[in-house]
Subunit: 430 residues, 3 copies
């Protein structure tokens, strides 16, 4: 498998965008039919095992919550006109709102209304998973104009024993060690956070399914926090086999890349992302682990301390569209999704191909000329190619992986890997 | 014991200043009645054990010197008028000057006169402990105006077998490991160097005497160099129990803080001062150990290599008032002394409270909501409070102390310690 | 041996220059009579053992090549006039050109002509050791003016079984551990690269032959690459005794110094050069090892990984005169050679004198005054001298060498070594 083979899917950004657009209208939450419908659609692209975990199941310090499903919700004025209508945006209802149907004054209703004074046109996204209450979210502009009248308030939902749903796509490889790629699939109509992560994981899985794989790959599509906790509680042995891991979120917007390192800070996946980003030409930042964010919080809890990083473009919580109706189908872009796919593919290539070779001629340099090993292959400058070859020979002492060598030689990993393969063919490495 | 309890003594700067003012006139040296009188006064504030070590006692490579006491000294002119008079300032006589009484010409006298041409109004401070000689110190302005006449030169002193005096205030704690706080108490009328250190040590001891203590504390009031050497020679077993140590000098002037690290460079006391200073808002510098300065030189000699740092405000030897009559009661200030006290108290809090906890829920995050652990306590922002709590949980893996966590979370130690205590109450840490 | 003794040879730059001038006209290659004549001349200055290794001898992955000797070569025009003439510059012939004698048109000749379009007045230096062919090098200005006519092309050379020649100057020391100093002696009329290295190695050896030596010294004068490989193949046991090593090249030009670290990066020779250069006042750069350059490539191959650095002034490959007729007797300067000699001598002093002492008074400072150890010796400021003495005493704990101490104290090694010797005389170090 050549280093650059995986990423040659020029239209995959558009495909990802289409998948996002198709999934966007579904009202997802951490349980319920929304996430089930989402996983069904993903399962049409890649092989998925779907798991249902009953409400009430203890998972470490937590308990799987009741299942929530919603059919309709609105606030209607005296004439029966819906001034806030779930049918127009599922963000209008606080996720996990308890069912209710009542007439009430604006004063009674007001504590249950949420808006963003700084972004008066946008609907905020709110949840109340573990505190049984209800609420509506609406644009601040609309909120301040609501007449002081009586309203009919309806939330046609059920919150009852059921199950939590998650899915896995498992792709066995030559080795039992696993690469874990995780995305939360529990948000309603929010495109970047995190249908972008769902679409990227789906397409990475589809591509990997068609390749020879050194590692086994496990893609998990889960509700955030409680889903990761549930998965970890049920998969402790599997977790012990995770050699590299990645959380995907907010990978579809046009912001610069942010890679958040694992708690270990220098895990191979951390070094692979740092390397690939540096050679990508894309603006990016590398940030250290902190115990907030998405499910890396659980994977990197001290009992697990898995080597799991998190890839983002714009960083969650730092952009105005985050957790608002502004995170819509205009906010994500096929070209941005394409870059994210290619970046992750390049990192997968590094992980797959990173090995430690030993030179068969450790005493002095081998004579390259007699083997026809002078001159570049593959569009590199002869100087860079030849010097990189000398680095590979010099550092293949059993202590340096190809990634170590790429870093030391300041050369792209793909070049280092191609040269190592060529030297191995000539019997100079083993 | 809460993290901020110890430092709430708003008038202690004024108290320290008064103690300094009371001790200022005493003519101290490395032996003799001056240091005895000083220790007697300190002993009225805190319990002191006073030790007398006879002249001639071998202490490592040194020998306890003769005891020096002075009653009077002057240079009088032909009319009997004292042109230089010990009664006006004890700095006028070189410390350890041999007794003498003679008439002599200015030419004979001149090699025994010392002044500061660059600071013509100030009297320098000089000593001659190990070279038996005599001398007078005077303002350069006065020196250059001395008529070429005959003078009566009198030093009414004794230099004879006696003893070296030092004192200890020992406060036993839960653990036999000790915190050593050392100050030199041998300088005559110099306020910052080092009555400020004597006063700070006294007040720290008084405060600690009233607290529950994890560590045992040992405050030593000693003559510089020979006193530290004598103490170390007589207390090698005690020295082996010193877990944290500190030399106090020049802590009463208004300069920025300087903390000089121990020879170990990363001892807990070094990290505690770095942390507390960084969060103090005070201008400060951290400097590495060098084998010059005050008694850290002896504590950090290679055979001991104790974890002893040195706190200063203006650094000895670098300010014009140093070792001159300019280091007087105008040069030290109650507010500066107050800050020094509070800083040391905060460091003591760090040392006392720094422990390594282990999370009882290492697998995934514990559910904070069900325990009412959301929301800040104690005036911190909810964001900082909550994130710091997540840091404490995430890093309580047995490998990170609370100080490690405070550094990693970039949070004040007091917040980290308060959160850890709260989590421990909820059974989440142990 | 005092630290500065070795470098006091004020006229050695001029001597080195004279040796270079004498050797300059000889046509050297990696084998043949040119290198033999060169080694004969060096052998008049220092004792040399000359080795001949037969063509065809396997040396690791390589084979000792045929021996090449040249007597004459030219390109003559129809009137018999030599338009390119080996007698005027031995750079005119590609080294290892096969013998030939033929008339040919310019079109036939053209592929065998090499010039530098960017430096039209200079003759390039080219070789073809392992690809049997022939060629001429000439100024580009001349090449473009060659009339389209028939030429007589003559290379009166032999390429046949013979031997590869190298030489060693071995100076036994107190210890069997060796300092290896290596220079390539295979280039024809190029002054900086590398007659400068040959001259410097010669003079260093001459100086060391007259000194007491802690280490044994081995100077090797070898053809580049194949010579180093041959030497290593025949001296694996000797190589295992190399404690410090150095390749010398381009040390006669007026550029700033460049020291290229060994592959180990922190070998004692690396630290010694860093220290001496920093205190030298000379502009310089320190660069990390990379597997290109001169024979450090072989010494630092992974099977050997010897602590061998490389000293240069202008870095090979980066200046326009490199490998052209511009690298001539005007390009090297006695004063530059003198500096290079003094620098290497100072590094040798560091290596010879770098020891780890243990203080005999590790508990507290020893009393310097009673031993008359106050006050500077040797032109240093009293402050620097005294503080350095305290550093030596404080860090002589068995874990710090004199070089470690010099680095920590930011003092010149010579001062540290002199102080250590003085303290040892007084029984304070051992």
């Amino acid at each position: 498998m050549s280093a650059s083979q995986a990423s040659k899917e020029p239209d995959i950004g558009a495909e990802m965008y289409e998948l996002i657009a198709e999934l966007f209208p579904i009202c997802r939450s951490i349980t319920g039919d929304g996430i089930r419908a989402t996983l069904r659609r993903v399962g049409e692209v890649i092989p998925l095992d779907v798991y249902e975990v009953p409400s009430g199941t203890p998972v470490f310090d937590w308990t799987v919550p009741k299942e929530w499903n919603i059919r309709d919700a609105y606030i209607a004025d005296a004439r029966g006109e819906r001034v806030v209508d779930f049918q127009r945006s599922n963000l209008h209802v606080v996720s996990y709102s308890t069912p209710m149907r009542r007439r009430m004054t604006l004063a009674e209703l007001r504590p249950h209304l949420f808006s963003l004074p700084d972004q008066p046109e946008r609907i905020p996204y709110r949840t109340s998973y573990y505190n049984e209450t209800w609420g509506f979210c609406l644009p601040h502009r609309l909120l301040v104009e609501l007449p002081d009248a009586e309203y009919e308030v309806v939330i046609d939902a059920t919150l009852a024993a059921g199950s939590l749903t998650y899915a896995e796509c498992v792709l066995p490889g030559e080795q039992p060690e696993e690469v874990l790629i995780s995305c939360h699939a529990c948000h309603p109509s929010l495109a970047d956070d995190n249908l972008s992560g769902v679409a990227l994981a789906t397409m990475l899985a589809r591509g990997l399914a068609q390749r020879a794989r050194r590692y086994s790959y496990r893609f998990v599509f889960i509700p955030g926090t409680i889903g990761a906790i549930t998965w970890l509680a049920r998969n402790q042995e599997t977790a012990a086999r995770v050699k590299h891991g990645l959380v995907l979120t907010c990978v579809g917007d046009e912001g610069a890349f942010t890679y958040k390192r694992s708690r270990r800070a220098t895990a191979e996946v951390d070094r692979a992302f740092a390397h690939v980003l540096r050679h990508s030409g894309h603006t990016h930042q590398l940030i250290d682990f902190f115990p907030y964010g998405y499910d890396e919080r659980q994977y990197c809890s001290p009992g697990f301390n898995l080597p799991v990083g998190c890839l983002m473009r714009s960083q969650h919580g730092t952009f105005p569209e985050y957790h608002t109706s502004g995170d819509n189908l205009d906010f994500v872009r096929p070209a941005a999704l394409q870059q994210s796919f290619e970046l992750c593919s390049a990192v997968v290539d590094v992980l797959e191909q990173n090995r430690t070779y030993v030179s068969t001629n450790p005493f002095c340099e081998p004579q390259l000329g007699k083997r026809g090993l002078y001159g570049a292959v593959g569009g590199y400058s002869p100087q860079q190619y030849q010097l990189t070859m000398l680095w590979v020979l010099n550092l293949s002492d059993g202590d340096h992986s190809l990634l170590d060598i790429a870093e030391r030689a300041d050369a792209p990993f793909a070049l280092v890997a191609d040269i190592a393969a060529r030297l191995a063919e000539h019997g100079l490495l083993e």
